[in-house]
């Protein structure tokens, strides 16, 4: 592994974790798609600031972009507050308009702007080590690493300092307002950090994949836990894991690192969706299957009770009769009978006759009374 590979991996992890931390609250506050809106409209801030300072390396660009992100949120909320459009429509109206203005400005001044729009949208981590940060002629490492490292610290500090305010306004807006923590102030402070994070990350991974890093790891973590501290921790772990996994796959396929990181977040999320212990797809399948057999076992005991002691009992209360009477498949009937036997509801004789145990009789009566 070369030094450059190591640098890229460190940067990937830093970017991913820096995005995932505020992402947790985006997911919890149902504002996931504001990250999409912000990451697109910051282009306008960058373009306008560029026209002003005429320098692509200027920190003013970053600042202007972050401000544009906050303005985007304000515009969406203002539009929503008119009660003429719903919030989702407000988002879908605001950011394409701002983005269009930016694209038009770039196109109009294509001659004197060397601003690559698709570089903003797509980004490329592989080139990040080429932009060095040096001081007094000493190479201090890639610029992106410094910028994103600072943003990561900023996000961690923000979450640490305003943890209870964020938590309260996320889960109980009314209570937080009543206690005097203005939810609006918390909201805008939080959206500022999201905006700064998106700006810092876009040049590494591009504005569209910022959304993946912000949303997918927290969403995966959300499927696994109900507790906020654990959610933050798991998100950070998932983010870092996707970054490393994505890098390895990108190396192997010789493909876009950012793209592979996004896919890796998607893979981890799918894994969580399938395997989550309580609400995962597999867990629910297993539960449903078991419930089906359990229910059928009780149905069977009712059936047996109905015919018990009647002249037709020897004919009705047989395993072989169930497929005809209850329209079960042979396999399913056998499974149900075995399950009911294990539960002590009935006994099976060698010739296929089924007899209720006292427990089974009791259970069937109990069900029928209800």
């Amino acid at each position: 592994m070369t030094a450059m590979d190591l640098e890229v991996q460190i940067m990937a992890v830093v970017v991913a974790v820096a995005c995932a931390l505020p992402g947790c609250f985006l997911v919890l506050r149902r504002m996931a798609l504001l990250s999409d809106a912000i990451s697109h409209s910051i282009l306008l801030g960058i373009v306008l600031a560029f026209f002003w300072v005429r320098d692509l390396a200027s920190p003013v660009l970053i600042l202007a972009a972050a401000v544009t992100g906050v303005v985007t949120v304000a515009l969406v909320e203002a539009l929503h507050a008119t009660r003429r459009v719903k919030e989702d429509a407000a988002i879908a109206l605001v950011f394409p308009a701002l983005f269009s203005v930016a694209v038009l400005l770039i196109a109009r001044h294509a001659g004197d702007v060397h601003l690559d729009v698709d570089a903003v949208l797509l980004g490329e981590l592989a080139f990040a080590p080429l932009r060095r940060f040096s001081w007094n002629g000493v190479d201090l490492g890639p610029k992106t690493l410094w910028v994103m490292g600072a943003i990561l610290l900023l996000n961690a500090a923000f979450l640490g300092l305003f943890y209870k305010e964020l938590k309260l306004s996320t889960f109980d807006r009314g209570l937080s307002a009543a206690l005097g923590f203005s939810p609006a102030v918390v909201q805008y402070a939080f959206m500022s950090t999201v905006s700064v994070t998106a700006v810092g990350a876009f040049d590494a991974v591009g504005s569209i994949l910022v959304v993946a890093l912000m949303i997918a790891p927290p969403a995966a973590a959300r499927l696994l836990t109900h507790r906020l501290p654990l959610l933050l921790l798991l998100s950070a772990v998932f983010a870092a894991a996707s970054a490393l996994l994505g890098f390895q796959v990108a190396l192997w396929l010789d493909a876009s690192i950012a793209g592979c990181m996004a896919v890796a977040t998607g893979v981890l999320f799918t894994g969580a969706l399938l395997l989550a212990p309580d609400r995962g797809v597999l867990a629910r399948l297993v539960v449903r299957r078991r419930q089906r057999v359990e229910f059928a076992g009780l149905m069977l005991s009712i059936h047996l009770l109905n015919h018990e002691g009647t002249p037709r009992a020897p004919e009705e209360n047989r395993l072989g009769h169930l497929p005809e009477h209850l329209r079960w498949s042979d396999d399913f009937a056998l499974r149900v009978a075995r399950h009911a036997e294990r539960e002590g509801l009935l006994t099976r004789s060698g010739d296929g006759r089924l007899d209720l145990t006292p427990l089974g009789r009791e259970a069937a009566r109990h069900l029928m009374v209800r």
Partner: protein, 410 residues
Amino acid sequence: MSLPDLLHGLLFDFTLRTVALGAAVLGALAGALGCFAVLRQQSLLGDAISHAALPGIVLAFVLTGSRATPVLVLGAGIAGWIGTLAVMAIVRGGRLPEDTALGIVLSVFFGFGMVLLTWVQGRPDARQAGLDTFLFGQAATVLPGDVALVAGVGSVAGLITILFWKEFKLLTFDPDYATALGLPLRRVDFLLTGLLVVAIVLGLQMVGVVLMSALVVAPAAAARQWTDSLRTMVLLAAVIGAGAGVTGAAISATARGVPTGPTIVLVASAVVAFSLLAAPRRGLVAEMLRSARVRRRIRADAMLMDLYALSRQHVEPGHPHPVATLQAMSGRERGVSASLRSLEARGWAVHTEGDRAEHAAGRLPGASSDRHWAITEAGRIRARQLLETGVGPRPGPGEPAEPGSPEVPA
């Protein structure tokens, strides 16, 4: 380019005519189907679908080696469709809200598309080979065949919408009732969403991924402001979408370096802004005027009640009172005269010119405040009506509010 030139160009210039026609058909289709998305609060589904289409386009290209529009559109459609199903599956899990599901699908599918694209090209740089076209659209590359494709598929989509009109309407406004009627709701949902996927992938070539969602949402959001009827809204959105398409194409043809997609989106956004402000009933201007009118009326009513209260305390009900008294009673410095004049116009108050002698002697300052106002008989009737029906302000403390209480005879 002057306006006649532009019109001439729209009719006879081959490229411009093709682009404008394509944009018009696309705008109409996206606008009409967008209405359902906006009303069902799925405005951002379009955004997710358009991003999710990227891997489909790349795979279609890899598998067939063809860059023909129908092949790529088919690939985009399948990928967009899978993306939509993924959103539905995530939401059905019950733990995550829809916006999170949309965000995940949007970005992960797009990332997958980029991986495919860079992998196909064998280098970690996606900027060549038409990703630009896909991101921002390239209306100038639209060929008559593409327009025919959009028009053909679009008419089928329109026909399906007409055939399933009542199902779509029920799904949009009252899905529970639709379920109760025994409608196969899931299948209707799939069909409607499928139509939206079709409209979006057809538009990718024209306006690109990022802006396609605006073309779905903006005409519908604009049309919504003008009407409360679904039929009118859908038709209006189609017209607005088509209009924005043609206008945007025409504007971008007049100047160099003005890409078509963003121009169309800005035209559509301008229509939204205009509709939000100027629509007759839901418009913000109309609401401001309406609330100003209501405020004026409430103030005038309050003023009438003040005059009525004064008249009841005075032996002579028609005794005029100075403006200053009424200002003090209402707690308002300004606007008192306006309220009084509107009462006078309705015959509920009259004014006298006050004490001219004192005014002339300079003991009363100001010329406009020397008027004295009195309530008329009609005004007293109106005031009692207001008290009885409870429409208008409540009387102050110490004043009899019950109707039929002893009155000072007029």
